[in-house]
Symmetry: C2
Subunit: 453 residues, 2 copies
């Protein structure tokens, strides 16, 4: 008899974890819908030629590949075996598991471009798979939670992303966090302004590490990457810049005065803030971080990253504007802006802060208990009444000691127990016990329904 | 530039399909929760030794297998190549995609048996994968939607399954359907009663085809399977039996009077009906079908199957009681009862009957439109007010002709459009147009919120 186990890097989610994940996902979903985003789903499997070449060499290595059905070796020749694993792989596998939600979304947009209404706002909440080495907090299967709007360059989208992030955090009960914002064009402008035109790529890669390794090490790296000593020195005032939003913007306008693209970046940022103000919204939680880079060369405008304060977990949300989502599939010029929430990380944040709501709205509200057959039958009658009133109700299915029924309620953290004894039966009422406070009341059924609703 | 495509047998779900699927899944989920079922999720990938040998030889062939990471051929020897595909397969793949939700659930129960509170009621809604030949209505990736309660033999569970099915159908707006019920023990009893003790297996397989091939062909098959002519003839009154529930039960009690197990089956059925009656519930939609078998040898008690009338689609839900869920993983004696809804089939039923609700509660309620920059800024102010009142609201993000904005609302089937023109701005109001009826009203913001809520 085999002892079953899970593949490494994968997890089961039990009832408590699911209730908590559902709390997070419902909060995100409700917000996406409030802002007019529509859900899509794509298959777990994609053709390998859709996936490969999109995530760099390292990403290609991390794709989970699926064996073709039928005889495994039917197309494999001796020549393939001589050529090695790559040649054999091509003959035995043509599908892989999706690695993220962006590439499937790009494929979806291309395949449905004639039916879609642009601007198209979509969200997508599905698992992705990566053959990464598992470690604490890193899994081989995890959910991504993406929202993108494509087919518009309106800065309303950027403003709405800020609002969506704030709403989600508000509804999750998280108050202390920063939405770091920058604009890729500002980084391009900075490269220009320091006399290193076109080198925003390596500049971003180095600056991205500022938080982790500090300014001295970043300077070393820039030097190694061929930046001039003078250029690097001229970056210094930006790195140490700490002041309010307005001063930062004014400083940048001066610093970037000779960079058209840099000034455009500042203008876009101010544009998004202006829209927030026209919406009657403030700039709470927004942290304009001139040094925020994010590694992705993919972004061309706004860049976002969200950090929760007082926790050990890194960024829990991020995104940015791009101008070429689907070029790789032969459809150029599809611009948009997208962001995503890291569900596992949000889970860990709420767990670390002990901020999950005590009660889940998805779980049973009351367990009906009884002493004997008569009480059981009486409870059965009440069961339907409670449920028809929309109250999540259970009855202990087997006749057993009432103690055991109470234990069951305790273990399942059911907040109320209904007692159906002889007295209650005679009076046509129910005794309702609050399992947290210990309070017990004798109630008419209608009053019990009000209490539990 | 490659033209992207989907792997055969897989599908994208666009916004309209997703809204409809969400309607179905939310309906099912709400019902499961009302009855105290708790959600779990298991990983898409399972170890192959968890999956193989559970679905018969044919099932094993239909498992999607995942290639081990790293060098494909590192463990493959020349000897393996000589031995053929099976030997090679063992060296290159140790994981597969889940084929159903039952085996992962059994694995979950075994691995968590010390933490779980029994009776354990779980539901699970996740995709499964089968390398079947794709055809109309049959896909390689599809959702299953299972609910099981394990660790109790109480007939309350059977009664509650009937109630859950009825509630789901009621809330989906489906009125004409049958919940066919039988009991595996009755079939065993029938085999006994006709003098073919222990042959309920082949009897079930043959009888399962009654609907499709008719009684004459079933008789032929039984003859081929070694049933005696006399035994087969004695089945005849059961096949043609059509009358009310009470008569059927009485007939069976007589027919099975010498079969202990058969009478136990009748007793279990009557027990479940009795519980329904104690709950104050009727027997509407229940069709006691003595010939209902379902192929699965797995079932030991009640058997369910649901058919919607007036549609071409087969059964949309089914299940039954079993007494050995986890034996194959070394944990004997875990009994329970489970059932599942076929989401794709329910989708097709609602589609065929044109029974999907016109409006989705997940999509945008109103689009704010405007003529110029001033109107745009006014609309931005209203946007937050509507959203803060919980109304799903969008603004057309780019300034463009109002015609185009209306077209956008039409294409997205947004039911209301808000017009923010000069007049509205001056009066501090909004004109709201119902896009279905064409009615247009000038409203205070607070009145518009009431209209749209």
């Amino acid at each position: 008899m085999q002892k079953p186990s899970l593949p490494k890097g994968t997890r089961d989610f039990g009832p408590l974890q699911m209730a908590r994940r559902t709390f997070i996902l419902d909060t995100i979903r409700d917000t996406f819908q409030l802002f007019g985003y529509q859900q899509i789903e794509t298959p777990a499997m994609e053709n390998l030629n859709t996936l490969t070449g999109k995530y760099g060499d390292e990403g290609d290595q991390l794709l989970f590949k699926i064996l073709n059905s039928g005889d495994l070796l039917k197309d494999v020749t001796t020549a393939d075996l001589d050529k090695g694993p790559g040649a054999v792989l091509n003959k035995v596998s043509e599908k892989g598991l999706r690695y993220d939600l962006t590439v499937p979304f790009a494929r979806y947009v291309v395949m449905n471009r004639n039916e879609l209404t642009f601007p198209f706002k979509r969200y997508q909440i599905q698992p992705v798979w990566r053959a990464d080495r598992p470690q604490k907090g890193r899994y081989r299967e995890f959910y991504q939670c993406d929202a993108d709007v494509v087919g518009t360059d309106s800065l309303v989208c950027e403003a709405e992303i800020v609002l969506m992030i704030r709403r989600v955090f508000e509804n999750l009960g998280l108050r202390e966090y920063s939405i770091k914002i920058n604009n890729r064009k500002i980084l391009t402008g900075i490269a220009e302004a320091i006399g290193e035109v076109g080198k925003e790529g390596p500049l971003c890669v180095a600056i991205d590490k500022l938080d982790k390794i500090g300014w001295e090490k970043v300077k070393e790296e820039l030097l190694q990457r061929g930046f001039g000593q003078k250029s690097i020195e001229s970056l210094a005032p930006l790195v140490s810049l700490e002041s309010d939003m307005k001063r930062k913007l004014n400083f940048l306008k001066l610093f970037l005065k000779n960079s058209e693209v840099g000034l455009k970046g500042v203008e876009e940022l101010e544009g998004a803030f202006g829209i927030l103000s026209q919406m009657g919204e403030n700039l709470d939680h927004i942290d304009f971080d001139i040094m925020l880079a994010r590694g992705l060369s993919y972004y061309t405008g706004a860049i976002f990253e969200v950090k929760v304060h007082h926790v050990s977990i890194g960024s829990v949300s991020g995104g940015g504007r791009y101008d070429n989502l689907t070029g790789v599939f032969g459809l150029p010029g599809v611009s948009g802006v997208g962001f995503s929430f890291g569900v596992d990380r949000l889970y860990d944040v709420l767990d670390e802060l002990k901020a999950f709501p005590k009660e889940s709205h998805t779980s049973t509200r009351i367990l009906l208990t009884y002493f004997d057959q008569k009480g059981f039958e009486y409870a059965l009658g009440l069961l339907s009444q409670f449920r028809n009133a929309g109250i999540k109700t259970e009855i202990y299915p087997n006749q057993t000691k009432i103690q055991k029924q109470f234990e069951f309620a305790n273990k399942k953290e059911i907040p109320f127990v209904g007692i159906c004894g002889e007295e209650e039966l005679k009076a046509g009422i129910i005794s309702v016990k609050n399992m947290v406070t210990g309070d017990q009341q004798r109630l008419d059924i209608s009053k019990a329904i009000v209490l539990l609703s």
